[in-house]
Symmetry: C3
Subunit: 209 residues, 3 copies
């Protein structure tokens, strides 16, 4: 029987998140008419900023993203791809939203698990997971001078928080072979809440005037 | 005789600072017409951002603010309170300024002491104290795209620096029962300088044209 | 024969970079008409922000910049100098560009070496070196609400990256007496690429519409 090494799966999921977020950052940079290097910088920062913030907060320095060259390479390649093929991307506006939701789901679930693995309390692991998911997009928006997505989109941070909580709650169900239940459960919740919020235009209460 | 445990007092002062800064951040977010989640996010980041920056710089990871659920809970409650009762707040503009000065005083004094407790030199403890005091407000202003308060308000960083220096200088006067003299002295200096600067519209020199 | 202690040379080069970046940050703050304290804050953050980010990422906490009072003192003095004598500076716009390139070169080369000294892989040392070079300017631009220089200037991050790569490649050539070859080689490449890019208005490809 083929044994799937848990670490490899985490790596693949992590890299998928990196590619997705790098593409979303690069799209924003292309829309701002930055040059190729600017597009690459924004792509890398969007893809790796959230994880680096998480690693600094939990004391995992130097961050994995720095010490493993596959992460920045994947981000640069995705950003350059978007730079050259962005007209196709802009026609796929809806696809970008879905990809961003997928990246949010992947990073939130994996970030929450990493927090637990570093001995954080359940609550702190949730916070760290949410930061992993939303951090890169926040830095992207700061650099391109947009109101950060977590403030613009009503159910962005909330989707991440719901998934992080579920990932923590489901952790006792994880087998000795890996953290499938909590990762899949948490990720799916983030993804579903985000897509439903986009589809049905869920909105949070606004302050009364 | 009732023994007051120093740690509890620090905790209460810290939480008071969290509530005050969360309320000031939430007020800014309400003024920007963010939705409820955005108001909560800005409140939490304003209240906890300065302390998290301090903890990362002195190597106290994971930050206390992450590992102790009472901090974020206090921040969220304060932000939600402001979200629902902000009309009362906007009539109390002057009160918000006073509360912000109180938060600045609390965080600067406690941050300076924490820096000393982690073995920093007196100078580094001052820097870390000022960062604890002004960091949250800076992040709030970056997220809401305002010129940061430490650049707008002439005597903001300077008030914090004056209090941090006094807290360091007064440390030898602290008794074995706690750090009352330096904390109270430093905090009062920050508070007094800030209020006097607001009251008498102190202004720093501007560059000649 | 007079022995030159390597550490002193690094210190002098580091302080030169601090002064140069503090002056460039202060110039931007004066152009925004901030008051004296705001000019000092921007100067300090521009000069010390990149190195602090590097130190946090590699786990060198508290950052040298915090624990050594000469760094912030040099930054404050440079910023105050610019505050009082900025008319001379604004006539020297081209000189400021050259100084900024020199600061970028110094910080990138020294940051890359520090990364290697902390046991990072060659790749991670490059990333950390680039961050050391460009980090302060990014924070300056965020605080003064400009599009960050690494996104505006086509050959800014790329110049830093080229120098960081050369510094890593040249490391085996360093003698036991110091890291002259890699530091000088890397720094000169950054400086040369930056100046040539300014002189000949090199520009990177823009996205097709």
């Amino acid at each position: 029987m083929l044994e799937v090494e848990p670490f490899s799966v985490v790596l693949v999921a992590d890299l998928a998140g990196v590619v997705v977020f790098a593409a979303s950052g690069a799209s924003a940079a292309v829309a701002r008419r930055f040059d190729m290097f600017g597009v690459a910088v924004i792509g890398v920062v969007t893809a790796l900023g959230g994880g680096a913030t998480r690693d600094v907060l939990i004391g995992a320095v130097p961050p994995l993203l720095l010490s493993d060259w596959r992460y920045p390479l994947a981000a640069v390649l995705a950003a350059v791809f978007v730079f050259y093929f962005h007209p196709a991307f802009s026609r796929l506006f809806r696809a970008v939203l879905v990809l961003d939701a997928a990246g949010l789901a992947l990073f939130t679930a994996l970030g929450t698990q990493k927090g637990l693995a570093y001995g954080l309390s359940p609550w702190a692991a949730c916070v760290v997971g949410v930061l992993s998911g939303v951090g890169g997009g926040m830095i992207r928006d700061l650099l391109t001078q947009e109101i950060p997505v977590i403030l613009r989109e009503d159910f962005y941070a909330v989707a991440a928080l719901a998934g992080a909580v579920l990932a923590v709650v489901a952790t006792p169900l994880d087998s000795s072979h890996g953290q499938w239940v909590s990762a899949l459960g948490g990720g799916c919740v983030v993804f579903a809440v985000r897509l439903l919020a986009i589809k049905f235009r869920w909105s949070a209460p606004k302050p009364r005037i």
